[in-house]
């Protein structure tokens, strides 16, 4: 059971949250001009690191807000959580 800290509600059990996959995937600025390969990269291709991973979670049972979590995928340790308008702590890898 992960113990995840919601930026608004504090630490809650994993069962209160919904997982949203990799964070910081920007929507293309000019989607109409992308090739199929570029669009596929945006839609389907995600990082899958073993170690710290910035990912989106939503506090679906609580305040229903999306936020980001930095979590180690090897140890399952939740390193930190932060709001969507805050940068990834420690920079981008």
């Amino acid at each position: 059971m992960l113990l995840i800290t919601c930026p608004w509600c504090g630490p809650r059990n994993e069962t209160e949250y919904h997982y949203g996959g990799q964070a910081h995937v920007p929507h293309p600025e000019n989607p109409g001009e992308l090739t199929d390969e570029q669009w596929a990269a945006y839609v389907f291709y995600r990082d899958n690191p073993k170690g710290p991973f910035a990912e989106r979670w939503m506090h679906s049972i609580g305040c229903r807000r999306w936020f980001n979590v930095l979590r180690d995928t090897a140890t399952h340790e939740v390193l930190t959580s932060y709001r969507l308008d805050e940068p990834r702590p420690g920079g981008n890898r």
Binding site: G21, Y45, N48, K50, T73, T75, H76
Partner: protein, 163 residues
């Protein structure tokens, strides 16, 4: 491709009561009884990415609740052990079998929670692909290019339990 924890469990030994494998995508569990008498059950993946070879307890709890919903007689069975492994899941939860952009590099991967029953067909068509350089008609739709063309495979339910 995303790596997720997948968990399963066995109970202690019981008299034979359950002669076949039953899977339910409705309550989300599969359960069979091994020859010695253990009940073997599993369910879907943990939602998050993980390489820890273990998942969260509430997933086990949920699959036991589902099994008891299906078979109330299992309510008195005790869990003997649980374990978790890593499964690699593609965006459409179907495997990738075919060529890659690199010459002479072929892939047969991304099986997620599925695979055991499909092994003969996967081996046959993968061998065909390597021998002829062209995919067999059966594995042509499973090419890596489907994530560019958008012709995904709508078979989330094809695995033991959909994920």
């Amino acid at each position: 491709m995303q790596s997720h924890p997948l968990q399963a469990l066995v109970s202690e030994l019981h008299e034979p009561v359950h002669p076949t494998v039953v899977m339910s995508n409705h309550v989300h569990v599969y359960v069979s009884q091994a020859h010695k008498g253990e009940l073997v059950m599993g369910a879907g993946v943990d939602s998050y990415n993980g390489y820890g070879q273990r998942g969260s307890f509430h997933v086990i709890e949920r699959q036991m609740a589902a099994a008891i919903e299906l078979f109330p007689v299992f309510a008195r069975a005790h869990v003997l052990r649980t374990w978790g492994g890593i499964v690699d899941v593609t965006p459409d939860a179907s495997p990738i079998i075919g060529r890659t952009p690199v010459e002479n590099l072929y892939v047969n991967c991304g099986w997620g929670t599925g695979g055991f029953k499909a092994t003969p067909a996967a081996g046959w068509t993968f061998a065909h692909t390597i021998a002829t350089g062209e995919p067999h008609p059966l594995n042509a739709p499973f090419a890596l290019e489907r994530f560019t063309t958008g012709a995904l495979i709508d078979e989330h339910g094809a695995a033991a339990v959909a994920h």
